[in-house]
């Protein structure tokens, strides 16, 4: 009997040790993937002619948007949509302006790399080229080996997009002036911002769709002004182009408003040049009847959603020259 108890106990400790070991290993692997994904995010060799990285369109200092209406591809193909922020993107179920069944960030990243509507990084049909370029680089050999030990460090779109996903999940913005005030149970610094906050969560009903704390409900809405113009000759029917359901025509996902003051221009087609334009553009009674003063106050509130520590965090910035 004693022997049995001893054996069981021994087994128990062994298993627990093993379990802890696995956790520690998967932690180390996840860290290695974030590090690799970080470097890949800034890697222009992911584009056909080496001119464009993810970071070319998703600039940290603008909350991972860019200042253009749309951004042309590496081969100068016309862009179609405005670059969205990547703040807290790991917390969304639906991705992009209007997709409702992408399996996750890894799958999404294939769109810029090898998508054709529009062509961005231009790698469609040249996927092997990526493995060839990165595989020759000692730094990437090392980083892929650490991040994908079971896959023996193989460089392919599978491992590469998983690493990008791991990095993107670290892009968390939760330290804006608004967040800091909330954490300390303090009021927002200016009267305009406080009034704007009241409007946002109250009478103006912004929070119905731009729901805190993500400032998006991760859901789809039809709020387009009547004559939606075609930009660059590219028709954009929103969710309809994914589902084919008539009711999804011109339906778009609510964008997050975090760091929105840094990310002009606005709207899925970049057609709104200022925050004021963007707010007024909703085909919603509440938005359309906001007075100039109310608009100013709401914008003062939106300004408090900018997160300096997010846009200056070196862990999200250009990786060091040395391989580490």
């Amino acid at each position: 009997m004693k022997q049995l108890i001893k054996t069981v106990l021994l087994l128990f400790f062994l298993m627990e040790g093993l379990y802890a070991e696995t956790i520690k290993n998967s932690d180390t692997i996840e860290k290695a993937r974030v590090k690799l994904g970080h470097r890949l995010f800034y890697e222009a060799d992911l584009s056909i002619n080496g001119t464009m990285a993810c970071a070319t369109c998703h600039e940290q200092r603008r909350g991972f948007c860019d200042g253009n209406r749309v951004h042309p591809g590496a081969l100068d193909d016309n862009g179609k949509r405005n670059v969205p922020t990547l703040a807290n993107v790991g917390k969304f179920k639906n991705l992009t302006w209007s997709h409702d069944h992408l399996s996750g960030l890894a799958e999404q990243s294939l769109a810029p790399i090898k998508g054709t509507d529009p062509v961005e990084m231009g790698m469609n049909g040249h996927e092997d080229e990526i493995a060839k370029r990165l595989g020759q680089n000692e730094c990437y050999q090392k980083l892929f080996a650490a991040a994908f030990p079971q896959e023996k460090g193989v460089v392919n779109l599978g491992t590469l997009t998983q690493a990008l996903e791991s990095f993107e999940k670290t892009l968390i913005s939760e330290n804006s002036i608004y967040d800091q005030a909330k954490k300390k149970h303090k009021k927002l610094p200016t009267k305009d911002a406080r009034d704007g906050e009241k409007l946002f969560f109250g009478a103006a009903k912004c929070n119905n769709c731009h729901t805190a704390p993500l400032f998006s409900d991760d859901a789809f809405h039809q709020i387009q002004p009547k004559n939606l113009k075609v930009y660059n000759g590219m028709r954009d029917n929103g969710l309809f182009d994914v589902t084919g359901n008539e009711k999804d025509k011109n339906v778009f996902r609510t964008p997050s408003l975090r760091n929105v003051a840094l990310s002009l221009p606005y709207w899925h087609d970049g057609s709104a040049t200022t925050l004021q334009d963007a707010i007024k553009k909703h085909k919603l009674k509440t938005n359309n009847k906001l007075s100039a003063v109310e608009l100013r106050k709401i914008i003062a509130f939106l300004n408090t959603l900018s997160d300096e520590s997010f846009i200056n965090n070196p862990q999200f910035g250009k990786p060091s020259l040395e391989c580490k």
């Binding site: 800034y42 890697e43 222009a44 060799d45 992911l46 584009s47 002619n49 080496g50 001119t51 464009m52 990285a53 070319t56 590496a74 081969l75 100068d76 370029r133 680089n137 020259l321």
Partner: protein
């Protein structure tokens, strides 16, 4: 041969679209060849003169040793280069470029902040124009993340 052809096409396209070129871009017409420097030591042989358009040869990115790390570095299959530009009078200067390379205008190891960006007139052979406020002194103009091994370039004073 290929290079000659490119020069021909570029110059041709500039002449052909003369009508759409703004006046101050007249300087595009006189293109002389300048090979880019790949490191500091080569800078003295890679000089651009203000108001004089040049046809520049660029260098494979892995061979480049930039004075400062470019904002946009470009992959192994892209092209870049460096040039020296003597600025005699402080003022607003425009860098006009035939391809979409990233531009860093640097002095004493620091990049100048750009103050305006625009695309060139359609079919003008101009892909990109960036304006900077510059002091007098010697600047190093860095091109990076370019798609081709050559381009046309012009630095001119606009104010």
């Amino acid at each position: 041969m290929k290079k000659l052809l490119v020069i021909g096409v570029l110059v041709g396209s500039l002449f052909a679209q003369e009508a759409v070129l703004p006046l101050e871009l007249d300087a595009w017409k006189a293109l002389s060849y300048v090979g880019a420097a790949k490191s500091v030591d080569e800078l003295s042989t890679a000089t651009l003169k203000v108001a004089k358009a040049s046809y520049v040869g660029l260098i494979s990115t892995p061979k480049m040793k930039y004075v400062i790390r470019p904002m946009n570095e470009g992959g192994t299959v892209s092209y870049g280069g460096m040039f020296e530009v003597q600025i005699n009078e402080s003022g607003i200067y425009r860098v006009v470029l035939g391809n979409a390379s990233w531009i860093d205008m640097t002095k004493d190891g620091k990049p100048a902040q750009s103050i305006a960006h625009s695309e060139g007139p359609k079919n003008s052979g101009i892909r990109k124009m960036v304006d900077y406020k510059l002091e007098s002194g010697m600047y190093v103009l860095q091109l990076s993340a370019g798609a081709d091994n050559s381009s046309a370039i012009l630095v001119m004073k606009i104010k």
